[in-house]
């Protein structure tokens, strides 16, 4: 038998064998879905590190990473793909080195830019699923708005201290978006980020691993239009580990981004008419 005729190489069969024999992957069929999927990470920090490793390990064929930060010593307790030798290097390049060495069968694309109104559409267009691993509401609204306009799904997560949250946005263009959940942004003083608020490495890491699992479910069609119910997972690590599954509202008719009379379209975003900094208030955010 000619190896070229097989949908996967011999080396890929052996690499993914333990995963392909699981019912939930449905063998070669699911493996090819993973191979053909294109996933974009916004951020390469504490949430993204384990999610990147497990999705690369699982064989997601194309992984993009948007991040213009460089690795710092204070990242390393939780951002486990990077290392001491990589301090000062772009996080997206550091992650690419790690992931390519973990799995040479996949393609890693780096976008060493700050996500903005100007570049988000062009970058998002090449991917199927966006993983929001960012740090501020400003970027979260931008990610959601652009994804809705391009018809992309978002796996959105966040964490501080020992807690974390996760939800799926714009599921197959019928699920709620970030603005459906949060039509009004929080006042700037109420927002704390990992760098200000402190974070336990494996707690944010666990939420990142959950992102990888939810992304696999989307790719493997575990969720369908028929069975998908909007939810928000709330994890807490201390003093007991607990995971709550909250049943959430669906798409809101009055949503400015995805609703019946939506106003936030590509032109409004790219022209800067939608000003995320003004919308979220004046705290000096460190975007992405």
């Amino acid at each position: 038998q000619n190896e070229k005729a097989l949908p996967l190489s011999i080396s890929e069969y052996s690499r993914y064998g333990r995963q392909m024999i699981c019912d939930v992957t449905n063998g070669v069929k699911g493996q090819l879905k993973l191979k053909n999927s294109k996933v974009l990470f916004i951020g390469a920090g504490g949430l993204a590190c384990p999610a990147l490793a497990y999705l690369a390990g699982a064989g997601v064929g194309t992984i993009g990473i948007v991040d213009d930060d460089v690795v710092e010593n204070s990242n390393l307790h939780r951002q486990i793909l990077h290392s001491s030798a990589k301090v000062g290097m772009l996080k997206c390049e550091s992650a690419r080195e790690f992931l390519t060495s973990l799995n040479p069968h996949i393609k890693i694309v780096t976008h060493p830019v700050r996500l903005s109104n100007d570049n988000a559409f062009e970058i998002f267009a090449k991917y199927d699923i966006i993983l929001d691993c960012t740090d501020t509401p400003i970027t979260r609204y931008l990610v959601s708005d652009v994804a809705v306009n391009l018809g992309k799904m978002v796996v959105s997560a966040s964490g501080v201290q020992t807690e974390g949250q996760l939800c799926i946005l714009n599921f197959k263009n019928i699920g709620p978006c970030y603005r459906c959940f949060y039509p009004t942004p929080p006042p700037p003083h109420a927002v704390s980020s990992c760098s200000a608020g402190g974070v336990i490495g494996p707690c944010i890491g666990l939420v990142g691993v959950m992102m990888a699992i939810e992304t696999m479910k989307i790719i493997l069609d575990v969720y369908t239009i028929e069975n998908f119910k909007p939810f928000l997972l709330q994890y807490n690590g201390f003093p007991e580990q607990s995971l709550r599954n909250f049943k959430m509202r669906g798409r809101q008719a009055k949503c400015q981004s995805c609703g019946d009379t939506k106003t936030i379209d590509r032109t409004a975003i790219e022209s800067g008419k939608i000003n995320y900094f003004a919308f979220c208030g004046s705290k000096n955010y460190n975007v992405v």
Binding site: G43, G45, G46, L47, A48, D132, C133, T134, D135, T136, P137, R140, A157, S158, G159, V160, Q161, E163, G164, Q165, F181, Y182, P183, T184, P185, P186, P187, A190, V191, S192, S193, C194, S195, G197, V199, I204, L232, Q234, N236, R244, N245, F246, K247, M248, R249
Partner: protein
């Protein structure tokens, strides 16, 4: 009549409630008043449970739960249960969770 509730403050909100996530709360009905609603619980929390007055805006803004806090009735988004108009029942678990932004 009164209702006995469990009230939870998640996502770091416990910081303004003596660092305690889970609280048992019993609300008493004013005589002659209609059934107790979620609105009444929010008023009670604001007036009685926030230790430091300066912290009130962390929980309340423009007379209701501030943007960025999700409210859940027995693990279900209050938007699916009449929001402030939800009629409280004995044993309900009402959770408030602040949205996290770190990544």
């Amino acid at each position: 009549m009164s209702v006995a509730l469990t009230v939870e403050f998640l996502g770091g909100l416990d910081a303004i409630f003596q660092n305690q996530r889970k609280h048992k709360v019993t609300l008493d009905e004013a005589s002659g008043k209609e059934a107790l609603k979620l609105r009444d619980l929010i008023t009670y929390i604001t007036n009685n449970m926030i230790e430091n007055e300066n912290d009130i805006p962390v929980f309340i803004q423009d007379g209701t739960v501030r943007p960025g806090i999700l409210t859940l009735v027995n693990d279900t988004d209050w938007e699916l249960c009449d929001e402030e108009e939800y009629v409280l029942e004995n044993g309900d678990v009402i959770s408030f969770t602040s949205t996290l932004h770190g990544g």
